[in-house]
Structures are given as C-alpha cells and as structure tokens.
C-alpha cells in the first residue's frame, strides 16, 4: 500500500516536471519579449518593456525562470500573476470552492442517474427498458456539454422567466456559506448540464461491465446454488461491475476538479476553468502553469485513490 503511494508520488513528480516544462516551452517559444511587451502597458517604450521584464522576472534566461518556478512550487507557492501581481495561491483558493461545488454536486447526480439506468439495462437486456436506457445514453453521449448548457439556459432560464416563472437565476455563483439556498439554486442548471452527459457515459459503462460480469461462470454457479436473482445481481454482479466505474470516476473527478471549462463559461461560474481561460487569453503564464500543475496533480492523486479502492472492491487485485 505504501509502495503504491510512493510510486505514484514519484510518477506525479515526473508528470509535473514534464508538463510544467512543456507549459513553459509553449509560452516561451518564439519571441521572449512578447510576454513582457504584453504586460508593459499601452504604448510602452523599450524602457517600459524592460522594466516589465524585470518586474515579471522575464529578463532571466529560460532555464533560470523555470528553475525559479520549480523551487517556488516546492515551497507551495505558485508565485504572483503577471496581470495584477497578486499571489496566485489566493486566486486559486477563491476559485476552487466554486469548481468543487460544481463537480462534486454533479458527481452525485450523475451516479444517481447513471448507475440505476445501467443496472436496469443490463438486467433486462434487449427489453423496452434497455432500449429506453440506451436511447437516453446515446442521446446525451452525442450532446456536447456546451450545447446542453446553452439549451438549458434558453429553455429553463429565458423561456421560463418570460413565462413568469423565474425559478432559476441566470448565471453567477453564490457561496455555500453566504446562502445555502441561493448556492443550490445557482448550481442546479450547471449540475444538470455536467451530470447528464456524464450519466450517459456511466450508464453505458455499467451496462457493459455488468453484462460481462453476469455472463461469467461464477455468476451462473451462484444462481445454480439457489441464490435468488436479486442477491446474485446486487451482491455478486454489481460489486464486480463497479470496477471500471471507479476507474472512470477517478479520472473524471481528477480532470474536472481542475476546471469544468465549458460549464463554467456557459453559466458564468468563477471557478478554476474561468480563471484558466482568462489567464490563457491574457497570456498570464504563471496562472496557466499553476492550473496545469493542479490538474495533473488531481489526476494522479485520483488515480492513486482508485488503485486503493480497487483493492477493496476486488480482492483479486493485489497492491503489488
């Protein structure tokens, strides 16, 4: 167990090293004075650009800057952003709760929708219910998140409001601590947007994996022993079928925690995704690098958690 975690940590360091390097390379390829000029202000002369370069640390060589960044990371600091010279750590700690609220709420919804439909489809293959489940899944699978979000806004905000039913607020975010009710209302549409597409993925995932499991010999043996169909499906089948779901869940949570770009953009939620999009638009390198680092860390950490959960779900898997 400890070895798994250690190995993952080594892997994390390797990944972080490679991707921060790539981030830096992407931004530094071409003219290194570009960046300084962008932040020197309007109509900046050569002197102002030089000042900006010094202020942002751009006057040093590529490797020096990269090294400087890495040592900062080791001390837990992402540094200052280019635009406003604000500590990135505080920007992130402001944005993260938004993204976390969005993602974790959506996870609950998509599991609550996806898993039951998937189980229903798999236990009644080729039935009307299965077809309905499959249709649901394929429809939302083919629905890009932003399309769903935009259509939700159109129907559930504009049309409802015009009909005199202003149930849902337009956009924006209210903190859980300031008003739990508003927090909930503001997040319903974003949650559904994110969750419905994901629920489709999970429906298919669990249907496929449960069908496979139910075809196994040991399930037939359990039935032959005289166990009821219910017991066999829920105690033996579903448990084994959850393995791929856990993997996918780890990946999805890890990826989304670093920013649900599209959903945040559509609903104007000031989360990490928005922060990243703005930073990219402004060529604010340290902020982009910070979010890239966060994203990769989330993914690797979630993978480690998945490995551990595996061992609990499936005793055959040894944490070697």
């Amino acid at each position: 167990m400890i070895r798994v975690v250690l190995r993952r940590l080594v892997y994390l360091v390797l990944v972080l090293f490679v991707i921060t390097l790539l981030t830096y390379i992407v931004f530094f390829v071409g003219n290194p004075n570009d960046l300084a000029a962008r932040f020197a202000g309007r109509d900046a002369g050569p002197a102002e650009i030089r000042d900006a370069a010094v202020r942002l640390g751009l006057n040093h060589g590529f490797w020096y800057q990269y090294w400087h960044y890495l040592t900062g990371l080791l001390h837990g600091s992402f540094g200052l952003d280019f635009q406003n010279q604000v500590p990135i750590n505080s920007e992130i700690s402001r944005a993260f709760p938004v993204t976390a609220s969005l993602v974790l709420g959506a996870v609950v919804i998509w599991l609550l929708i996806g898993i039951p439909i998937g189980i229903m489809s798999a236990t009644h293959p080729r039935s009307l219910r299965d077809r309905a489940g499959t249709t649901f899944a394929l429809t939302f699978l083919s629905m890009p998140t932003f399309v769903l979000g935009v259509l939700f806004l159109l129907v559930f905000y504009y049309y409802l409001t015009r009909a005199g039913l202003s149930w849902f607020p337009a956009a924006g975010y209210v903190g859980l601590t300031s008003s739990p009710g508003q927090w909930f209302l503001h997040l319903i549409l974003p949650w559904l947007t994110l969750a419905l597409v994901q629920a489709a993925v999970y429906t298919r995932l669990i249907r496929g994996s449960l069908l496979d499991v139910l075809g196994e010999d040991y399930i037939r043996t359990a039935r032959a022993k005289g166990l009821s169909r219910r017991t066999v499906i829920y105690k033996h089948g579903v448990r084994a079928a959850l393995t791929p779901v856990v993997t996918q869940l780890g990946i999805d949570i890890g990826t989304l925690l670093a920013g649900a770009f599209v959903t945040e953009r559509v609903f104007g939620l000031p989360g990490l995704g928005q922060l990243a999009l703005n930073a990219i638009g402004a060529a604010d390198l340290p902020v982009v690098a910070a979010i890239v680092v966060l994203a990769a860390s989330f993914i690797v950490v979630m993978n480690t958690i998945v490995d551990i959960v595996y061992a609990v779900l499936d005793p055959r898997v040894r944490l070697a």
């Binding site: 935009v150 995932l205 496929g208 069908l211 075809g215």
Partner: protein
C-alpha cells in the same frame, strides 16, 4: 488484453461448419464454401438498420461538405453575406425559418443559417476526420512498436502515453491555440496530439495478444524480419480495430473542435463553424426571441455526433461479433476523458 479480443479473427466461429455425413464417411474432406471476413462483416452490418441509417446520414454529410459551394449557390445565399434588408426585420430581429427564402432563418447579423451550417459541415468533417486520421497513424505506429517489442521500448512509450493522458487535455489545447493563434491546421494537429494515445494504448494491447499467436511464430520461424512481421502479419489484424475506434474518435474530435470554437479558440469568425455559430449566438440576447440561429447549429452538431456514434457501434458489432453484447462500455472508454481506463483495464486483466 487476452487473446485477440477484438478483430475479426474470431470470425471463424461463424464458419458454416456443416459437413456432409456421406462425404465424411468416405473420409473425404468436404469442399467448404466460406466467405471472407470482410464480406461477413458487411452482411452483418447491412442487417443493422440503425447503423445503415447512420451511414446514410454520414454519406449525406460528406456530400454536403464536398458540394457546399454548389448548394449555397442553389440556395442563393452566401454563408458570410449579411442580408440586412431581407434577413432582418425593421427592428433588427432575425428572420424566422421559411421566411424570405431563408429555409432555416437568419442570424443576428442577417446571415443565412442554412448556408452557414453547410459550410460548418466542411470544417467539422475536415477537423474530425483529419485529426482522427493523424491520431490513427501516430497511435498505430507507436502502439505497434510498444506492443511488439515490449521490454524497455514498451516502458518508455507506455510511460509517454500515460503522461500525455495525465494531461489536462482541454486546458493544454487551449493554451497552445492561444499561444500560436488559431488556425485550421493547428487545430487538427493539437487535437491529434492529444487523441493518439487512446489509439496507441488500444493497439498496444491488441499487439501484445497478437504477438504470441502461432502465425507470428510461424513467420519468425521463416526468418521474417521484425518490420515484415509488424507490417505484413500484425498490421492487417489491426485494421478492424482501427476502423472501429476511428469511427468513434471522429465524433469526439468534432466535439472538441466545436468546443474550442465555442470558447473562441478554434475557427475564427466570420468563417462559419458550428461551434462559433453557437458561441456567437449565445453572446447576444437576440437568440432568446429568435431561437433558430442557436438551435439549428446545435441540432446539426448533435445529429452528426449521434450518427458517428451509432455507426461506430454497429460497426463494432459487425466486425467483432464476440464482443457484441457488452460493447456499450467500450464506447464510453473512447468517448469522454476515456484514456487511462483503457490501460487500466489492460493491466487489470493481466493481473487476474
């Protein structure tokens, strides 16, 4: 992956194995009329109505893309022309579907929505097919090398794919496009860069199974070189897999292009792409009264993705009958943030 898995290798299960008892009694092997694997797959596919309808729609899309200039000329409205008098009402509201000769109405700048959708088809297919093709080539070559040689080659290439897959893909794609300025070519390259590892992992798993097969051993006994074995013995067995996953990757890449365009980082206006049409529609408020110029591009995008997904599904059933029933999970693998899952499953299988 265990023995082969995908791939029509298992088509032989379907050989018509009826033998004439009389001939058998004489000890004579009966002439045995079989069909080629591809022909069998096509026969199976043809029975799948949903897949055939999807295929029809895909062919239709391709034709629309190819004949876009002709079609828009027939309609009589260019994709970027602003019909400020016939296309907008006096108060500046877009004209609805079917009015003034605008079959799907106009957008907030008085442009013909249908013409723009037709040109958007071109972009979507170019990016979707182009990026997928590129990803297919890179993924197949790398997966083939990793799977065939194993050992340290596999370790290095496998790790490389893992790391690429641990990337926050969308974020990185956005960063690259933002840095170098959006263009069609860059879009294709960036999307391919991040989608090839899916193919790479699948091919690798497949090759590991194929490598142990007796026909590879037979080729080795013959003295065939590694290159010859990879190209002549193994690669033909990857074609089915490649076709299936390419079909499933195309809609993913089309959505990726639309998403990037929606975020303002893909195809730049005024060139029409479904993504930027939706984005442009959403930036104003006019779409709340004139739904059509938001909804129709959405419909085009969803129908296209759906068609590719359904066809890919049918194709998998046809080319790989054994995996037939439980196949729904595999779609999800490629569909969304898929990636590691594929590898995870491989490892899991190797362990148990």
């Amino acid at each position: 992956m265990s023995q082969g898995g995908l791939i029509g290798v298992d088509v032989e299960q379907e050989r018509a194995e009826e033998k004439d008892p009389e001939l058998l009694a004489k000890g004579i092997e009966q002439e045995f009329v079989g069909r080629t694997p591809w022909r069998l797959a096509w026969l199976r596919l043809r029975k799948d109505k949903v897949a055939m309808v999807s295929l029809g729609f895909i062919v239709f899309l391709v034709l629309v893309a190819i004949f876009a200039p002709l079609l828009t000329a027939l309609i009589g409205h260019g994709p970027n022309t602003q019909y400020t008098t016939s296309g907008l009402s006096l108060s500046g509201i877009p004209v609805g579907p079917g009015h003034n000769g605008f079959i799907l109405g106009t957008d907030d700048q008085g442009r013909d929505v249908l013409s723009r959708i037709i040109y958007g088809t071109q972009i979507s297919l170019e990016v979707g097919v182009g990026a997928t093709g590129l990803a297919l080539v890179i993924g197949t070559v790398i997966g083939l090398l990793a799977g065939y040689y194993g050992g340290w080659v596999d370790s290095v290439l496998g790790r490389f794919m893992d790391i690429l897959l641990s990337f926050p893909i969308l974020l990185f794609a956005i960063a690259i496009v933002a840095r170098f300025g959006p263009s069609l070519e860059l879009l294709i390259i960036v999307i391919a860069m991040f989608s090839w590892p899916y193919i790479g992992r699948l091919v690798r798993g497949q090759v590991i199974g194929l490598r142990e097969r007796e026909f590879v051993e037979a080729a080795r006994a013959l003295g065939a070189s590694d290159l010859r074995i990879m190209v002549i013995e193994i690669a033909p067995n990857l074609i089915a897999l490649a076709i299936i996953y390419a079909t499933l990757l195309i809609p993913v890449n089309i959505v990726l292009e639309a998403t990037l365009s929606f975020l303002g980082l893909g195809i730049q206006p005024p060139t029409a792409s479904w993504g930027n049409m939706i984005s442009e529609a959403q930036t104003g408020d006019l779409y709340t009264v004139a739904w059509w110029f938001l909804v129709f591009p959405c419909v085009a995008l969803v129908l296209t993705t759906l068609a590719f997904n359904l066809f890919g599904d049918g194709l998998r059933d046809a080319l790989d009958p054994r995996q037939g029933r439980g196949h729904l999970g595999a779609k999800a693998k490629v569909k969304r943030g898929a990636r590691l899952l594929v590898g995870k499953l491989d490892e899991g299988e190797a362990q148990s």
